[in-house]
Amino acid sequence: MADIVFAGAAAHAPGLTGWFEKAEAGTQAEVRDAYRRLGDEIQQAQLDVLLIVANDHILNYDPSDYPDFVIGTSAEHTGPAEWFKPWLAVDDYRMPGRPDVAEILYERLAEADVRVVRNDELSFDDNISVPVTMTGFKEHGTALVPVIQNCTVPPVPDERTSYALGERLGRIIRDELPDGLRVGLLGSGGLSHEPGGPRYLEIDDEFDRWFLDLLAEGDHEKVLDQATLERMEQAGAGGTAELLSWIVVMGAIGRRDCEVLCYAAVPDWRCGVGAVRWELDREPATTIGG
């Protein structure tokens, strides 16, 4: 029986690495501190493997054949993909994988009612590159298993499908991964943005703050009732639904107290930026259902 010993989520906006300096100094410090805190917690959790749940940006598959979930089974993960390098302005990275863990996840998740495939040649864009850089994870030497999720190519698995997939993922981790394995989960994506759409230059900070407050409130059923795929799309089509990767993490851990680490709406970043962590060491303080 393996243990989930870390759970967090954060935006992977390319502006965080590519043009971070366009934010005011105070905002930069707040955001940098939040990602460092996530990185510190990941390191202190002494993980054997971190699962990063994230969409790609139509990088690994053409829209004509786009799977719902892709498990990265490679023994080593490198990035970023060459074309994204000037955009992201991050150093190249090389992180160990865990093919044994990835294969179990693939085989068992493939039984879900969504299309799950495996890939040992995944390329990475903002999705993995930004969080592993901002948190410092790429320097930890800890293994990574990427779980790439379709959040943008219709038909997109919705919030309840994502949560159920997360519940299944949590059961597989706890019941089928090797005894004593220490597993972390990081949702990567969001918050509001509309890449390539008519509201590309806009951020819906009202939605973002509402969403983060909802998570902090801790009622997962309420989150699923209200933070629907449709509501996310209203706050920025094609991009805001990256928050479905956060929903997968929530499904895997069940109801836990959620702490919001930062939020920033920087117009030049063209994406609401936030980060959260969930408290796994104790039962939730709140008594609401969900």
Binding site: G196, G197, L201, G238
Partner: protein
């Protein structure tokens, strides 16, 4: 007229998607695209409307034809450059200006 959600128009089989995928993954193709865009477009079975829209930087027409906005954003960066300069990038500004045009 405001544009509806992209899923109303989305056409997963448009060849423009394949063009953008190939350009992202192939440095030599990108260099040829910059030097002689027409010769690259000749190699793809684009509809006349797609080709005209790409050549005219008419991102709105591509959106209405069903190109996914992620691919549109990437196409704008393939055309205008991917590095952010001072202020908003030329790529994102050109894209939004086209999408919001009457």
């Amino acid at each position: 007229m405001a544009l509806a959600h992209f899923s109303k128009y989305f056409n997963r089989d448009l060849v423009t998607h394949k063009l953008v995928q190939d350009l992202k993954g192939d440095r030599e193709l990108r260099e040829r695209f910059r030097a002689d865009e027409g010769s690259v477009l000749d190699g793809y079975d684009l509809t006349p409307a797609e080709r005209t829209a790409i050549e005219g930087r008419d991102f709105k027409a591509l959106y209405l034809a069903g190109v996914h906005p992620y691919s549109l954003g990437q196409l704008s960066r393939l055309i205008y450059g991917t590095v952010e300069g001072a202020g908003s990038s030329q790529a994102s500004s050109a894209l939004v200006e086209s999408l919001l045009s009457e």
